[in-house]
Symmetry: C2
Subunit: 166 residues, 2 copies
């Protein structure tokens, strides 16, 4: 039972984007450089966050990604399920209905208690991740984090006065 | 994030073994026939439950598998982790320490908040499955289940008086 390696990437990228000034964006290339990740694959993964409504993507020379909603409205669960899908790890194939021990249909009207308990575990896992927003994550970072993130993530390509100096 | 298909097999096999009379066993072949499962692969998987201390295996002509402990002492978590291992689905590769945005070591003394929250979700998942024992599962079955299971799982190959009739 493994989540894709890119789960960590996207949790961190979303956290970084949550620290940008409103209206600013970061490109997939900038995020890839910031975390030393493979840019083409990261770009594809970022699109899955766009599809999930977590990020919006803008095009053009200054285009890139930004949060589609307030950090308090984006949960870790939304990010994780954008990457991995929302299906439960346990699959009940109803083996109770097959083989020599197959239960008659009238005894299978209720869901199998094993499937019910496995689903309950998945529900509490989802609930735990749904209870943590990007705002909660930001609140745990040192106060200096947002300025540092902005400077290192988008600063070099767009420092103040860059156009005037060139 | 998927559990192996055999997770369902072993949860059901352990539940069936929990319904046998004390001292009796069922073979991998009997369990495979009972649930219409591939016997050689099931046998291998049952060994993982033996390794985990959930089942004991006895050899010889009447040999087979039985619970190694009381049903109340065996949890769904033990069975699931016997099949799939106990490692957490989220892997933190510390990407916060790499790339242009790499955090200095002194800012990484504490675990990454994202890794902490992902670990917490895994902890509640484990807790949910650890809270359900095979005794709880048995308590949810209809009262007629144990007699039916015994008869169909081990009855046909060893009915009372079988040897005398042949």
């Amino acid at each position: 039972m493994k989540l894709p390696v890119s789960t960590e990437w996207l949790l961190h990228c979303a956290t970084s984007l949550a620290q940008l000034e409103p209206g600013t964006t970061a490109s997939a290339a900038q995020l890839a450089e910031y975390y030393d990740l493979p840019a083409p694959y990261l770009a594809k993964q970022l699109q899955s966050l766009v599809k999930a409504g977590v990020l919006s993507a803008t095009t053009g020379p200054r285009g890139g990604f930004r949060l589609a909603r307030e950090p308090a409205e984006i949960t870790l669960l939304q990010i994780v399920e954008a990457v991995d899908g929302a299906s439960a790890p346990y699959e009940c194939r109803e083996i109770r209905r097959q083989g020599r021990g197959a239960l008659p249909a009238e005894e299978c009207r209720q869901a199998c208690i094993l499937a019910v308990k496995m689903a309950e575990a998945h529900r509490v896992w989802r609930g735990s991740l749904a209870a943590v927003s990007l705002a909660d994550v930001l609140a745990d970072l040192p106060p200096s984090a947002p300025a540092r993130t902005r400077s290192l993530l988008t600063g070099q390509t767009r420092p103040p006065g860059e156009d005037a100096l060139r």
